[in-house]
């Protein structure tokens, strides 16, 4: 009798732990997204830097930060030094514009192109040296879902937490590439915790 009772209790425990450990199919979460940053400096003293950040950790930390213009997961635009540029108005104008190349600034040493293409905000900067050779090339590619999320905050602020969440939901892809003569910087998102 006692033996049967012990077996019954063990059976109930096994079932309970079994259910607790088996994730239900409907509740399967999307893969964890990672933000990666690499900096590769050329030359003898060149450094290589590798940073891997889980986006859900970034999302959790941001609301706790109250430093300078970052207040509880929001970026207070009025506290930024670039007050002469209305960043929020600029992003809203770009968001509402049709797919097109809408800003191109060309000078002897620099070409800046801002465009909205295929759901992305694209910024390309090409800097040339005196001889006309390419000195620095910057490519920024931000999904518009992220821009929308950033703009979901109130006036005078950008919602960084919503932006990070949107970035994670958007999926994998390159965000920033900077190629200089002596260094290369890459920032991208994928589902791997390591940099290949």
């Amino acid at each position: 009798m006692n033996r049967k009772r012990v077996i019954s209790v063990l059976g109930v425990l096994a079932l309970t732990f079994g259910f607790a450990l088996t994730p239900p199919l409907a509740a399967q979460t999307p893969p964890q997204r990672w933000l990666h940053v690499t900096v590769d400096e050329r030359g003898e003293d060149g450094e290589t830097v590798r940073i891997n950040l889980p986006l859900d950790v970034v999302e959790a930390i941001l609301p706790t930060i109250y430093v300078d213009a970052v207040r509880g997961g929001k970026l207070k635009l009025s506290q930024l030094r670039v007050q002469q540029v209305d960043i929020r108005a600029l992003l809203e104008a770009i968001r509402n514009a049709p797919d097109n190349e809408f800003v191109t600034v060309e000078s002897a040493r620099e070409t800046v192109r801002v465009a909205k293409e295929g759901g992305y905000l694209l910024v390309n900067v090409d800097k040339r040296n005196d001889e006309g050779g390419l000195e620095e090339q910057v490519d920024i590619r931000i999904p518009f879902a992220v821009v929308d999320a950033l703009l979901s905050a109130g006036e005078d602020e950008l919602d960084l937490v919503a932006g990070v969440r949107a970035l994670a939901a958007h999926g994998e892809g390159a965000l920033v590439t900077v190629n200089e003569q002596d260094s290369r910087v890459r920032i991208w998102v994928d589902s791997r915790s390591t940099i290949e």
Binding site: D45, T48, V49, I51, A60
Partner: protein, 151 residues
């Protein structure tokens, strides 16, 4: 019940209590892990430091620190305590990974999450440094300091 039976019951109770206490102590020590600090100088006759402290001792030791000392945490450091606590809690849930790696001709620095701990390794021409702090302990410390700062 015979004398032998009474003795056996007492021994079984004592053994059970010892196992319970040992198990609880073991669980607590396991929960907080250990803080490890190894510093090894590379020059000839260079000194080395090897420190291994059970993490469970750190929160216990914190309770003996007078509040007036904890209240003296600079505001610049104090405002990062919530971020430290949340980061530690969140990182503890992540799989093991390398957070940062900096490699140059002179030095190699690595910060990783490994086996529930934040592990910092520095290797340069002068020394090798290894620091491992359990994330649960970091979270607990940050929480304790936050509470002390807001009291």
């Amino acid at each position: 019940m015979s004398a032998q039976g009474t003795l056996s019951a007492a021994a079984a109770t004592a053994l059970g209590a010892a196992l319970l206490v040992g198990g609880l102590a073991g669980t607590t020590v396991y929960r907080y892990g250990a803080v490890k600090v190894y510093v090894e100088k590379k020059r000839p006759a260079g000194e080395s430091v090897r420190l291994w402290v059970p993490g469970v001792l750190v929160p216990a030791a914190m309770t003996f620190v007078p509040d007036r000392h904890l209240e003296q945490i600079p505001p610049e450091a104090r405002r990062f305590l919530p971020a430290l606590r949340v980061a530690s809690e969140e990182l503890a849930r992540c799989p093991d990974f390398r957070l940062l790696e900096v490699v140059s001709a002179r030095e190699r620095v690595s910060i990783a999450k490994r086996d529930g701990a934040l592990v910092i390794d520095v290797d340069n021409n002068d020394e090798t440094v290894h620091v491992s702090v359990p994330l649960r302990l970091l979270a607990s410390l940050a929480e304790h300091l936050e509470e002390a700062a807001t009291d």
